[in-house]
């Protein structure tokens, strides 16, 4: 199962502990996370479901390429990191 870990900076607004979820794409993995933690969706994705302008997501150490449809593949056991960009602060 992929493991999703959130930036420490989100934690004071909303607890987002690391979580193991199933899914084969970034979209599937994040949907599984947000099913457990619905408020987290609005912190990571915009109203249309794209990655927020100043957020970034890494899968296995690489930034995801598809920030709109979130179609990047997530291998079984991959580490997914939801981070804030250095911009936007």
């Amino acid at each position: 199962m992929p493991r999703v870990t959130f930036t420490a900076n989100i934690q004071r607004h909303l607890p987002c502990p690391p979580v193991d979820v199933s899914g084969r794409t970034v979209r599937e993995v994040l949907d599984a996370v947000f099913a457990q933690n619905p408020l987290a969706r609005g912190y990571v994705l915009d109203d249309q479901g794209a990655v927020r302008h100043h957020m970034q997501i890494f899968v296995g150490g690489a930034q995801v390429r598809d920030r709109v449809a979130l179609s990047d593949a997530v291998p079984a056991g991959a580490e997914v990191y939801v981070m804030q960009a250095l911009s936007g602060g």
Binding site: H13, L39, G42, D47, Q48, G49, H54, M55, Q84, G89
Partner: protein
Amino acid sequence: MSETLLVASRKGLFTVRQGREKRWSVARAQFLGDHLSLVAADPRSGWWYGAFEHGHFGPKLVRSQDQGETWVETGKPAFPEKPAGSKDLDPVRGTEVEWSVKRVWALEPGGSGQPGRLWLGTIPGGLFRSDDGGDSWSLVRGLWEHEGRKKWFGGGADLPGLHSVCVHPDDPRRVKVAVSCGGVWETRDDGNSWANIGAGMVARYMPPGQQDDPGIQDPHLMVQCGSRPDTLWVQHHNGIFRSTDGAQHWTEIKEAGPSTFGFAVAVHPRQPDTAWFIPAVKDEARYPRDGRLVVTRTRNGGQSFEVLTRGLPQVDAYDLVFRHGFAIDESGDKLAFGSTTGSLYVSSDGGDGWQCVSEHLPPIDSVHFA
């Protein structure tokens, strides 16, 4: 009269209270480090609301049902999914309008007989409605889908913003909103259908022939007299305007002390001819004239203005007051304003004299009496 003032700033929310010898001071600081773009209090429920503008995590809304002791995150206003293939182009840039809330820029309770009803304006210019005190929100489609909305464009922000909501006290199905830059709009059926109103405003940033178009005006803020709701005042990008027929027609007030440029305006809740402004030099020079921070007041519908200075700095003051940075309480005697340089002033006598609460707060976006 209110003895509590809420202050939303670039780095936190401050509760300011009137204490001994009627002096105001900061009683509580919350959410330190976080940017709050708006604060509001609902007199029907006593609930307080704060809107965050997190740089990374987007806008959020919180609510307190115990006068700020505890806060919970409410539902988030969000645009519906943008229809595939739809063309919704920004008229200035020619790029697709993002259907995503960037900032909460207005929050106004509904009528006294509409418990739970809130109206919320955003950047981009979406209007949202809640009927459960903010737990859930829905886009007011009648306005967003109006063809006239596609003419709206950004002012100081890149995108248009809906910042003013005036609910008619006798018929809360009649609501007026103001948009930068999209003019004044009215519904008489609780938000289902909308009309662009407001003849008489002048947009001098447009070419000749388009300056009087009601659909591209930049009203910085629109306020309505509570007991005489047919009288409204607008601090516009190009001056001060007043309406006495429910925002249908506007008359320009051409002289108002140092300047007619500014962002904020307050109107007395029972005296429609009494209004206050905080002028800056002009649109491309946004600071008080001669470094003297003043408030202007008219008591005769704009025929003449007093320039109020007692308690305000008259040397090297470069404070600018944003549109939500000026508040009046229900008595009409207490006023407060907070500035971009973090100065906070309160008056208990209709603006005759001002107490400086602090000159060291973070930049202030919004003040509101609770």
